[in-house]
């Protein structure tokens, strides 16, 4: 019991200390809260604790299908097999718009968290190159699209400051990042359609 009381005083004093120190700047702090980027820049760069807590397993999704390589126009009277060479890089996006490949403290904390919790590394970008064959009928155009497998990780940074930062010792900062799923094959699809008159004039004239 005695110990409990001692701890109580400690905690209460901490509260009091924080309050006393912060009172003059509260209005300013509330009117001008830090941005997520400003907070995350402090991660392991002015914090006692900076940890990332994922809020669930990574969620897989398919990236947007987009054309890779050039279109193949068949201006002959025969079926043509064209080889489309392409190289495509899938990047990442996140809620602060900063590449996690950069040497920011919060990026390192995030990547270590991914490795520890999910046993794989975080890829900020992945480049795939290939030669894809496509059969194009006469007067048609062919092209290749690619969809990359993506993963999204969401969670919260828990940051403890030795002194109040914008009025608080502890900040919880939501964060979300989407990047290429490591070691996951992408989907490549061959497409054909008849050329438009404009395309015929432009490519077969």
């Amino acid at each position: 019991m005695k110990r409990r009381v001692r701890l109580s005083v400690l905690f209460a004093a901490l509260v009091t200390a924080g309050s006393a120190a912060l009172t003059p700047t509260v209005a300013q702090a509330d009117d001008d809260p830090p941005t997520t980027r400003e907070l995350l820049d402090k991660c392991d760069n002015g914090t006692d604790v900076c940890e990332f807590h994922p809020d669930g397993p990574p969620k897989d999704s398919m990236g947007e299908a987009h054309q890779v390589g050039d279109s193949a126009f068949n201006c002959t009277d025969d079926l043509q097999r064209s080889t489309v060479g392409w190289s495509d890089t899938t990047g990442e996006s996140n809620s602060v718009g900063v590449s996690l490949s950069a040497e920011y403290g919060f990026a390192e904390v995030f990547k270590v968290s991914i490795e520890t919790n999910y046993q794989h590394t975080w890829e900020s970008s992945h480049t795939e190159s290939e030669q894809t064959n496509i059969d194009v009928k006469p007067d048609e155009v062919g092209w290749v699209t690619r969809e990359a497998q993506m993963q999204t990780v969401k969670g919260q940074y828990e940051m403890h400051f030795p002194d109040p930062f914008h009025g608080h010792y502890i900040w919880y900062v939501p964060f979300e990042a989407t990047g290429p799923k490591p070691d996951a094959p992408s989907t490549k699809t061959q497409h054909t359609r008849p050329m438009t008159e404009e395309e015929k004039a432009q490519h077969c004239g």
Partner: protein, 202 residues
């Protein structure tokens, strides 16, 4: 590891002191507190609940982010922590004792741990917040007996707030013990998987 019963004096002093904290840092919320989900888990989606150890109030939300917003009292921030040198200041202690006599609002929540139904931080979650950080002095600072709906379900855990997590298969920190879980743990292992009925934070 020794657990200590919570004591009324602790609660009284802490709550009263929180008045000052609230006065100093309670602010227009950066993110408005989301409305609790009325029918959590509908559509087979995981529900994310918060439990305040100070009030035993539980609320459930559709997303973890909303739950954390709620656990931190509608902000993405907050709570007291350091300034430990202040504890040696008799002036502070006097002020604290004075405040202890006043009615007080609850301290802003300090998240102490999140518990998940499935391995890999999957499924439903329960985020527990309390009055402060854990002290790292070899004692259980906070404890909680799970309500029936959460008994024998926990498969992954995340300690927050400087806490280590201890899991027990009986209420009141009884029976076997597993831990400490010092960091995010996606699989607590077979020993206590789906067996937890009470939790200690140290």
């Amino acid at each position: 590891m020794i657990s200590r019963p919570r004591h009324g004096t602790h609660r009284t002093v802490t709550l009263a002191a929180s008045v000052l904290l609230a006065g100093a840092v309670t602010a227009p919320v950066a993110q408005a507190a989301p409305a609790p989900t009325q029918a959590p888990g509908v559509g087979g989606q995981p529900r994310h609940c918060t439990l305040d150890l100070g009030t035993d109030a539980e609320h459930c939300y559709a997303t973890f982010t909303e739950a954390v917003d709620h656990a931190s009292k509608g902000r993405i921030d907050d709570a007291p922590a350091s300034a430990r040198t202040a504890t040696g200041d008799s002036g502070f202690r006097t002020e604290v004792e004075r405040l202890a006599d006043e009615d007080g609002a609850r301290a802003d929540g300090v998240i102490q741990g999140t518990f998940f139904d499935d391995p890999g931080f999957g499924g439903d979650s329960l985020t527990i917040s309390g009055e402060g950080l854990c002290e790292k002095d070899g004692w259980v600072d906070y404890q909680h007996d799970l309500e029936d709906g959460w008994k024998n379900r926990i498969s992954s855990v995340q300690p927050w707030g400087n806490c280590w997590i201890w899991l027990y298969p009986e209420p009141g920190l009884g029976g076997d013990r597993d831990g400490p879980f010092k960091e995010n743990t996606g699989d607590i292992g077979d020993f206590m998987n789906d067996r937890t009925q009470s939790i200690g934070f140290s």
